[in-house]
């Protein structure tokens, strides 16, 4: 084919295509809009808020910012820590207004009067395997007295460890802790040799090329903004593909999400591993099923969802930890809408994130239970 064509006709598509490709990247990398992957994933209707108390971060995301929360605690407090792990429900507020705050902020204030320091970690779609790894990492650094652990049916479909948590696997203490459980061993096997967070040159690890590649990348980033913004461009591309898929297959937040047996099993194993580890460390646990929107049909297979609730309650009983089912805690009025997850642009009901009123209710319910736990602790 190529032999029958002139060099120019072979060259032109490459040159024009490269120019158009470059221009399209400039167009996508809109300069006026700050690229924020978190915002991109949640949409305009849902705001993220990682709370601070007196200027000290008390709500962090992963190990990239964990030091802020941990250092803040070490500087200003010696109270026992209540560690709250969760997903984006903890840091997202729908239709946020000035003065609105998340449950983590309210709970921190509430527990302060009981000489406890509430610290929250949450990541979008965080699964129990990630909670397990993060719990082991943080529990070594802070005097945790209570672990608050939400269990989300949606997140039982998640598996693996996100790149921003991979650095934890280089902590030998965590490695030793994970080796105790089967799921921990599996996590170590699948992630133990991966390089630290967000390493774009992982394939060059421990080679001479690692240095030259790092140098060239930095140089290119310094005089070509597109190169520096590529992670955000990748994120934007994946969000577009996600919306395209939803549009093509008519998927929306109300579409039924089925349980995935393999992941469900692994996450249950992770839950049991967390509880075993917490009990060994003499840490009290409050396990709860997260609030769920109840004015419309839940997006789950009801048989599977009911079995899930029973299972979590049974696990809590087996380990003798406190269990609460908060699925009906937040009334309809406190739930909101979110930006479209398809290409048509209509707003959609949000099953996961609520408005500020929902955060108040959740914080209040948790505060009450944590006070009970504290009273019981003091009696011991």
């Amino acid at each position: 084919m190529t032999n029958s064509r002139s060099t120019l006709s072979l060259l032109l598509p490459v040159i024009i295509g490269s120019m158009l490709g470059g221009l399209s990247l400039y167009y996508l990398n809109d300069k006026d809009e700050k690229l924020d992957l978190e915002k991109l994933a949640l949409g305009d209707e849902t705001s993220s808020q990682f709370s601070q108390f007196m200027g000290v971060p008390v709500h962090c995301e992963d190990i990239d910012d964990a030091y802020q929360c941990i250092d803040g605690y070490k500087k200003y407090s010696n109270n026992n820590v209540i560690l709250w792990l969760g997903n984006s429900q903890l840091h997202s507020i729908n239709q946020m207004k000035a003065g609105d705050e998340t449950a983590s902020s309210i709970l921190h204030r509430c527990m302060k009067s009981y000489s406890k320091y509430n610290m929250t970690f949450s990541q979008p779609n965080a699964g129990l395997q990630e909670h397990y790894v993060l719990f082991e990492y943080i529990s070594r650094q802070l005097p945790i007295s209570t672990l608050v652990l939400p269990v989300v049916f949606d997140d039982m479909r998640e598996t693996g460890i996100r790149s921003s948590l991979l650095g934890i696997f280089s902590d030998l203490y965590v490695v030793d802790q994970l080796k105790v459980s089967e799921i921990g061993k599996l996590l170590l096997k699948n992630n133990g040799d991966k390089d630290s967070a967000g390493n774009d040159i992982a394939a060059l690890d421990k080679t001479v090329q690692e240095n030259s590649e790092r140098y060239l990348n930095e140089k290119l980033k310094s005089f070509w903004q597109i190169w520096a913004d590529r992670p955000a461009l990748r994120g934007r591309l994946f969000v577009s593909l996600y919306k395209l898929r939803n549009w093509a297959f008519g998927i929306n937040p109300s579409s039924t999400r089925k349980m995935m047996p393999a992941r469900y099993t692994m996450n249950l194993q992770a839950l049991e591993a967390i509880l075993t580890s917490a009990i060994e460390k003499d840490i009290e646990v409050l396990l709860y099923i997260v609030p769920l929107r109840s004015d419309v049909k839940v997006p789950y297979d009801l048989v599977q969802y009911n079995k899930f609730k029973v299972k979590i309650r049974d696990v809590a009983q087996k380990f003798d930890v406190k269990f609460k089912n908060y699925e009906k805690l937040v009334p309809t009025k406190n739930w909101g809408t979110k930006e479209s997850t398809t290409l048509n642009g209509d707003q959609e009901i949000d099953f996961m994130h609520f408005q500020a009123g929902g955060h108040k209710l959740l914080a209040s319910a948790l505060c009450k239970e944590l006070k009970d736990i504290d009273r019981a602790e003091r009696r011991k």
């Binding site: 084919m1 992982a202 290119l220 590529r230 992941r263």
Partner: protein, 481 residues
């Protein structure tokens, strides 16, 4: 050095400019220096290992023409001992030692496990096969030994093909280095196009399929359904195809920038109409190497004769099958020192034997049915072969295969919906690209605007995606072999 890196592109750009500027002799020195630099950027301490193979085969081959038949045999043996010895030490010693210890322990003789830590030099399976083929060809009298050491060293170490092929024959390359290729703009353009194709396949497709495959394979086996196994087989099949064919595209493109033409290594293998056809389309250079230097000699067929008659009629069926099984077991072992690769090889041998048995029946159908039915049956059979290839143990591979044949395990899906969707989209994409390349494009006017517009659109998408995803986040899969 890894192809999908800024370091490689910088090296390639510099070498290509200098190559066309420098006089002939200096070009060869440049290629050799660049090749050693390319290799040294991985681990400089393994350069001497590669050079041992180069020097040994250069001198062994040089001695052969004047040597007696007996001495020639000894020289050939020397080459085989050096090359296979290096390969054995670095690639197979631990495997054989562990298996020997395991066997001894089974027989009641307790031996402690060895604490060996041997790093596998990058590309050793490729360059040793290349030097062996050279010496064997000289021994067979098919080629004359190369007297110019630098030229010979360039053939073995030429950086575009050094670590993952294609496995080149000296007859295909040395004469191209020797005759000083003229500068042609068409070579440069074709080279750039091939490199872009390759980068697209690697950084956009293979590297984005990899996490889905990794996640799938990390699932507990008990929770995996038959549909999950099929999906993983197809997904990994696509991943390794894109990954390896990407390497070949970049290798061919890089060499072409210097006016050197390599033979093609892939030709839409997943649209093969039979298992035999698959191996004419997948890793073509290795398949033909194995045929010429292992299968035919073991079958007792002389290469020249086969080339002239194209048949294997002298070999008995039984012997043919035994040789086929052994050849494929070795082919499997070439890929890695693990039983899963041997199982992979044996699977292919059995598939070919069954195919041969069914050939009279297959030939009774019309050509259209043979073609469509051939693709329909060959594709899943070939994809299933990737199960042991990707598995960590024999147990895992066999358990996964067993699920495929259990009709009760077709009732659930264990992975994210995206995994099945991506598999389906890629399958349709591969067929569509084949149709575009073999049906649509030949029907268009080569000087017409439609072809150019189509290519502009293709390169716009490819270029922007390559920029966004370009990063050496994953090694090429074949680097481990």
């Amino acid at each position: 050095m890894i192809f999908n890196s800024l370091t490689y592109l910088t090296l390639l750009f510099t070498v290509v400019i200098l190559y066309w500027v420098l006089p002939y002799r200096s070009r060869l020195i440049l290629i050799l220096t660049a090749s050693l630099t390319f290799y040294g950027f991985w681990r400089v301490e393994f350069l001497p290992v590669m050079l041992i193979s180069v020097v040994a085969d250069y001198f062994v081959a040089l001695k052969m023409p004047q040597a007696s038949h007996r001495l020639k045999k000894k020289l050939l043996l020397t080459s085989l001992i050096v090359n296979l010895g290096l390969l054995f030490y670095f690639k197979y010693l631990i495997f054989f030692a562990e298996n020997a210890i395991g066997l001894s322990n089974l027989m009641g003789v307790e031996i402690d496990p060895l604490a060996l830590n041997i790093i596998l030099p990058l590309g050793i399976s490729f360059y040793t096969f290349q030097t062996i083929s050279y010496t064997v060809d000289v021994y067979r009298g098919l080629i004359k030994p190369e007297k110019d050491f630098v030229l010979f060293a360039c053939y073995v170490t030429f950086f575009p093909q050094l670590v993952a092929g294609p496995v080149l024959r000296s007859i295909e390359v040395i004469h191209q280095f020797a005759k000083r290729p003229p500068f042609l703009w068409s070579d440069i353009v074709i080279g750039i196009r091939r490199i872009l194709y390759g980068l697209f396949l690697k950084v956009v497709l293979a590297d984005n399929i990899a996490p889905i495959v990794d996640t799938g394979y990390s699932m507990p086996l008990d929770a995996m359904s038959a549909l999950d196994v099929w999906t993983l087989a197809f997904l990994f099949g696509f991943q390794i195809y894109f990954d390896f064919s990407a390497y070949s595209h970049i290798a061919l493109g890089s060499a072409r920038l210097m006016g050197i033409k390599f033979p093609e290594n892939f030709n839409f293998p997943y649209l093969a109409t039979s298992p035999k056809d698959f191996w004419r389309r997948w890793h073509i250079s290795l398949s033909s190497w194995i045929r010429d230097y292992l299968y035919l000699p073991l079958s007792g067929i002389k290469v020249q004769r086969v080339r002239s008659t194209g048949g294997l009629s002298d070999a008995t069926l039984k012997r043919k099958n035994i040789v086929l099984l052994s050849t494929w077991a070795i082919m499997g072992l070439w890929h890695g020192a693990n039983w899963v690769f041997i199982l992979w090889g044996l699977y292919h041998a059995i598939v070919i034997i069954v195919y041969r048995l069914l050939l009279p029946l297959i030939n009774s159908f019309s050509n259209n049915i043979k073609m469509i039915g051939g693709i329909f049956f060959t594709l899943p059979i070939m994809m299933l072969s990737w199960i042991p290839f990707r598995s960590e143990s024999l147990d895992m591979a066999i358990s996964m295969w067993a699920k495929v044949f259990n009709p009760y395990l077709y009732d659930s899906l264990g992975m994210r919906e995206n995994a099945y969707l991506v598999t389906a989209v890629i399958l349709v994409g591969v067929v569509a690209v084949y149709w575009i390349k073999h049906q649509l494009i030949p029907s268009l006017d080569p000087k017409g605007y439609l072809l150019v517009l189509g290519e502009v659109a293709t390169f716009t998408i490819m270029f922007s995606l390559v920029i966004v995803f370009f990063r050496p986040i994953n090694q090429f899969i074949y680097f481990q072999f």
